[in-house]
Symmetry: C3
Subunit: 350 residues, 3 copies
């Protein structure tokens, strides 16, 4: 039997199957420095031990999105090496802050399977969980991917779909946020005066800045996460693909959109949950990413008077600025230039 | 009112105004590793804890120029986001060594304002100070930038200029240098036999090597410093600019020139002060940077018999080697190819 | 006398000469993070403190090949700055594991000299040793390089050759490997079921994946090792060279081949020795590297029942996949596309 992993096909997955993913990873200040250098993120809590400790953290935690990428990366060899498409995310919760020195592992469970009507591929629904060295869950999320069948004639499994919430409930958003010392939260150092109560549902914010992506940058970022998806790294193979070139890991676009959102959301110091996300169009080296956000909901978090939650839709676009808030066309299709539609909860001081 | 920062205009600055800059930053071994990887610097004191400890440091300090970049980066959103040009630096002093684990913050004071005669822009003089987590100053410097006016008809402030020294005084150069154990200073490990007394004013040194800069490299470096200047990152916006492409952060050229200067100045283990600097011409991805230096002064430092100071002019050039010591033409203009003119003090063992 | 290092010529070397190389280097978690990001390596022992500690290490050691590059880099200014060609490696032994916080230094001894018959250059044989801050050897190896003569008329030294083993003896392979707790070695987390006994001499493994190299990536990697060889960094100079462009440090190809070999050799957690290596053809930015391996020997290691050794030949190729196991042609020349032929010992759990 082959000693190499060619990736799994649709037939290889069974409902309820549990997978332990390879290569635990001790995250370090080196990962944080690289993440800053690759994204330009400027949120004070993740940047400075002093700021984090002043408000109640034991030290600066890792960027939430960095934690997501590391856990996600571990799942790739077992779940999505043969994925035709990454269809969506849901119910992603950031449960426990992660600090330099922690070691992350990942496991997954197959929670839904549905063969396509053409019999050539199927959709696999997976719940993946990242844990730290003490076994605490730090992150879990559901994603669904379209995976090729090895053999179009093999029988279809009974179709099953997980129930997925439209959004993570507000009662779950404070997990992993220590009690925040509001008096110690220095808005000048954080970069903006506007806190939770200053945002209104329906408000739109253009994040102004743009960031051009180079091949070396997305490759370095994606390898940092030990993500092995071939499409991001292999120009020789991709030359014969539909796009003729390497595809940028969609998570890198999420990272850039989050980093750009600092300009307008500087006090949104924690991504508490991702309700859903779609990579609407591919992104290539040389593209310039801009972003804008709409406040979807402003909600109190039960029994927390220190912090509140904003549900946000952040839209990333490429090669056009976001001042016109491009989103969808009259027929509900995404407008040209839109590459990411991300629906998530952030936490701000009150 | 907008929640995003579009940058300040000339009218927004007032004499004596004080600004607290956002995003404190805990610097780490990750930053040092990246700085080495981006510049190729090889000075032993900053590279090895053992070497640093042997001569009197508690551990290897961060590269002085890296500290400058991190403090400078914090000032960009408040000072120079709308800068037309970065006109100069003066009176930059490296006061306290910075070690991994320290947290840097930055503040600025407006110390001069002068409207241009055409009424369209003005020059803003700023003194910026970086401090560590105990409140000690680690670095201060003056820079002046040309900033657009929001409205050409708004009245001009009374013109004011700060007094700036031609060069930092020698009595200030040992701040932040511990007593150096000269017997423990191993020249073989440091990389050269030549110490302070071996250099003569007027001596010129070609640093020989050249370094080609890629877009990904200067972007990664400039984001590491959380510097947000659009011109370095946004190819889409820059396509319509005068140069048609991204501009490399001038500080990256300073870093490369300093790193290249190791070949000829390996024992110049500390940049003590920058007396002045000009980015003479822009640098773009694909350019190859070379450097040469002239010893301007060799001075004792009061009450320090362990170390001495050299005042140096380092000239960086692009796409030509520096063996002919290119500098200025007969009419005192900079010669073609010159991109940086940096006048600074370094400290060497005696 | 010049204060800059123009590199040494063949006449500058004498048999038995010992050289202390400059710039000791404290290696850190920052170096490990960057190495992961530049190579995509996924071996669990080097990735996770928990995994390393469970099986008997005090913490996750640095990647062996990273240690090699850092020691090698230190030797470049003194040995190979004027090298015409890097001819080969032999007898490279990884003796002591290296951990973040260790400081590496390097020394070399000239162990052979042989002038070419044309009198224009000679071959220099060097044994280089890396040591840590306690003076322990962590690595030693022999390499031989062709170095230009300063003056073709200068007299030739008496030809001398070191005796070099065809391969490092198995009794030397366990140096620096702690007693491995086999029960604690978790194959699921390590990424594969196959351990030492599952491999057979003659077995060939295609490592499947390919990695495209960008200029920024190999430059960042090579500077991380403080390797100063001009050919890797100076596009301006290289424009007039035989290849018209920068050459990728051969060591970066070794790193990629080792990282790619995870897919098929995930439990080969330690490179114990390099028996020999040839950079068969140059590699340039834009090239995509693939790799395959052949098991040459499977050997027990004396008095160690916990681990065993595999002698492996890994072949890296470019711009073609490795599924056909390209190696040599009928006339014993390397096949087109082959860029690296590496003969080395790895250690696996039994």
């Amino acid at each position: 039997m082959s000693k190499t992993n060619p990736g799994h096909f649709f037939e290889d997955f069974t409902l309820g199957q549990k997978i332990v993913h390879a290569t635990p990873r001790t995250v370090t200040e080196g990962d944080s420095a690289l993440y800053t250098a690759l994204t330009g993120s400027r949120f004070a809590v993740q940047s400075a031990d002093t700021f984090a400790m002043d408000i109640g953290y034991p030290s600066a935690p890792l960027d939430d999105v960095l934690v997501f990428h590391i856990v996600f990366g571990k799942t790739v060899p077992d779940i999505s090496l043969n994925a035709v498409a990454n269809l969506g995310y849901a119910n992603c919760r950031f449960i426990t802050p992660v600090f330099p020195g922690d070691t992350l592992q990942a496991t997954s469970e197959i929670i839904g399977l549905r063969e396509l009507s053409n019999g050539k591929a199927g959709v696999v629904y997976v719940r993946s969980t990242g844990t730290n060295q003490t076994g605490e869950s730090v992150l879990d999320y559901v994603r669904w991917v379209m995976v090729s069948k090895r053999d179009a004639t093999s029988p279809a499994p009974e179709a099953s779909f997980p129930e997925l919430p439209e959004r993570v409930g507000v009662e779950q958003l404070a997990e992993g946020v220590p009690d925040i010392q509001q008096n110690a939260y220095n808005r000048a150092l954080a970069g903006a005066r506007h806190v939770w109560g200053d945002y209104e549902p329906g408000e739109k914010i253009d994040h102004v800045d743009g960031m051009t992506i180079e091949e070396a940058e997305h490759q370095i970022a994606t390898r940092l996460y030990q993500n092995t998806a071939k499409v991001h790294f292999n120009a020789h193979l991709q030359a014969d693909s539909r796009f003729g070139q390497r595809l940028i890991y969609g998570g890198h676009v999420i990272s850039l959109a989050r980093a750009l959102s600092f300009n307008g959301l500087a006090n949104a110091f924690h991504v508490a949950a991702i309700n859903g996300g779609s990579h609407v169009a591919p992104c290539f080296a040389g593209d310039t990413v801009y972003a804008w956000s709409e406040i979807l909901e402003r909600e109190e978090i039960p029994v927390r008077s220190d912090i509140g939650a904003l549900r946000i839709r952040t839209i990333a676009v490429k090669n056009m600025d976001a001042s016109a808030f491009p989103y969808k066309t009259d027929d509900d299709a995404y407008a040209d230039g839109v590459i990411l539609d991300l629906d998530y909860w952030v936490v701000l001081p009150r």
